[in-house]
Subunit: 283 residues, 3 copies
């Protein structure tokens, strides 16, 4: 227990002292805690980006890992610090929805409002709860303090749904780029489930439309791509990506996080989709 | 002892092999050393930036932590490697002032010139003492070698005062931006002590002047800020910051590290300050 | 054995979840593995950059360290995952030459094709073998599974020679910038051995030519350089660097990775070199 792993998913960056200071707080409480960075380069203030980052990584960690997810533009206000336990994992995060995708994936949840101030660093600043609240609580948790000691269970915590593609008309499904990764791959919010016809035995003609560019190929590995060809591919986390072989699809398409991506089908495909999406409310 | 924590505060970056190589040197000497990065993105060659970074973080670490602070533009010259012990901490750094803010905060100091070359990696290069001198000494220190074994105490080490705000005339106190953080917050060299009237029960009218922009609000949390409003706020390390809610104050003000910041008071405030700063020599 | 050190040299960056996810995979298999980043900022898809990075660092690590070197533009194709053991170290990498400089330095090598799929994460994605193959195998290796269990030895693995300077004519040796480091130093592919006359007791007049700029000084420490002077210096890994004191040689020369660097000697030097390089085939 005293060796518990603590992960960091934050927007604090790696240039300032923030993350280093938080690690000191943890190690002062528990010198044998094992701290691992998932990413400290979440886009500043971007709760969705933080939610996506932790959602892609946490399942790969051992049971009882403490995941700190600190994207906290509301620091110093009345937004509550949360301690969330799922069947296998523990999360510390501000109550602003940054755990929404974890909530989406987990059946059994206990969400507590961390209010036991004697576990905080005193005095608590109004600008750095990552240090004064979250790191301190993580340190105590890693020493084996029971979760119930930190505060009462609540049910009115903040959660949002990840943005889903919207059916604009029978021939057009409109999605968005959730994230551009380090390689310039564009992770969209289309999943395999959203586009069943694309993965059918005889997929119809289709195109992804991004600004005035079109993407008409589906590949199964990056290396299959022709020079400067942008193609669609199912990424390692289940989302469709727009990618290119040994280059940046973002640069080739002039697209980035937030760019709209249309999925357009020919008439035959439209009919199939009409059947498949019967009952879905257009966005 | 053999589990001692070693922190890194350097300008070596995270793109090259430098930091990874230094960690190898330490782990080869002591595979159970626990290495933690405070920041390896100190501005290249910037001794003040290194001094600020370590000063903000070290107090949060457990006693007996070894802090490596390597910003070393004089590598390969006669500048001495230092081993500094304070009441609770140990520091390794070049003798160029990068520990000045530690010296400022600590009452009891022992400063040694690290000269015991048999603890160095041989041959010692003239361009990478982070590897050949500092990491090697950190490794031995973490194994429990007594500090006295590394060299004699000295008193003529380099130190500088952090730049303090200067009273230009009774109505104008001139400061500077010490640092822009990852969020675009501008950390100034004004502290609460420099501006007592600002935190009095009835603070007078005031403005911070940055180029042709003015900042006239004081907030206590980032989230209180109006859209695109730049305000002043006491940051988590005691310095006044110029900040904005969910955005970059640096971008809004067109300011950065080194930008001058004037603190201007109205007549009533001037009188109060005149009393408070009686005896202070204008800069 | 269960405490084995695992290093990361990858082009996965520190902004996405990739590296954090891989660390989770390892720690789930072996919670006491000790993971250290050499660099996760290898240039995207750049096998030579990855090869240089690991080559500069690995020798400094303790025996039996597992070095993961994942620059893998061919992920999802038939390129094989390799497990390489040298006298002291263990490497995991795709079979694309990213270990070429390790192969160059090591006398005794065993190279295996990792094919024992029961050690992989299932299902294996076609886009993220860093997670599904390499991290999983590293976790098992760190638990003490014998290398022979992972697959058969092979001899037809990919390797390339690092680009060597070429003698264009008796007065001109043409090299290239291999890397620009965080400080803007330009690491060339000239080594001390390539330019013996430069390190002779009475070195001849020489110049390095970069575009329309010339570098005519050799220094032994960065701090010897005059303001804005670019000079040559033997770097900490044995390559000649073009550098400047407290500034960026890359900016001053308008050069970067891939820029050609000519080494030009006067007539006397030419004669000496002619003798020294007798038998060398001009490039």
């Amino acid at each position: 227990m005293a060796n518990r792993i603590i992960t960091f998913t934050t927007d604090f960056g790696v240039t300032d002292h923030f993350v280093g200071t938080m690690k000191g707080v943890i190690l002062k409480l528990n010198p044998s805690a094992q701290i691992v960075d998932i990413s400290n380069n979440v886009h500043s203030y971007d709760i969705l980006d933080g939610a996506l980052t932790i959602a892609q990584a946490y399942q790969y960690y051992p049971s009882d890992t403490v995941h700190m997810v600190i994207v906290d533009p509301g620091v110093g206000t009345h937004r509550r610090p949360l301690l969330v336990t799922t069947e296998k994992h523990i999360f510390l995060a501000p109550d602003n929805g940054v755990l929404s995708l974890v909530f989406e994936r987990e059946e059994r949840l206990s969400v507590r409002h961390v209010s036991a101030e004697h576990y905080f660093l005193q005095p608590v600043s109004q600008t750095f709860h990552g240090r004064d609240v979250f790191a301190a609580v993580a340190g105590w948790l890693s020493k084996g303090v029971d979760v119930a000691k930190f505060g009462e269970e609540i049910t009115d915590f903040t959660r949002f749904g990840a943005p889903k593609p919207k059916l604009v008309n029978p021939a057009l499904l409109k999605g968005v780029v959730l994230k551009m990764d380090k390689f310039g791959n564009l992770i969209t919010n289309f999943t395999v489930k959203d586009l069943p016809q694309l993965f059918a035995q005889n997929p119809p003609a289709f195109k992804f439309v991004v600004g005035n560019k079109e993407v008409i190929t589906l590949r199964t590995s990056y290396a299959q791509g022709m020079h400067n060809e942008v193609f669609a591919i199912v990424g390692s986390t289940g989302f469709l990506e727009l990618a290119t072989n040994r280059g940046s699809a973002a640069a080739l398409l002039g697209a980035n996080r937030g760019t709209e991506v249309g999925f357009v089908m020919d008439d035959a495909a439209v009919a199939a989709v009409a059947a498949a999406t019967a009952g879905q409310v257009p966005g």
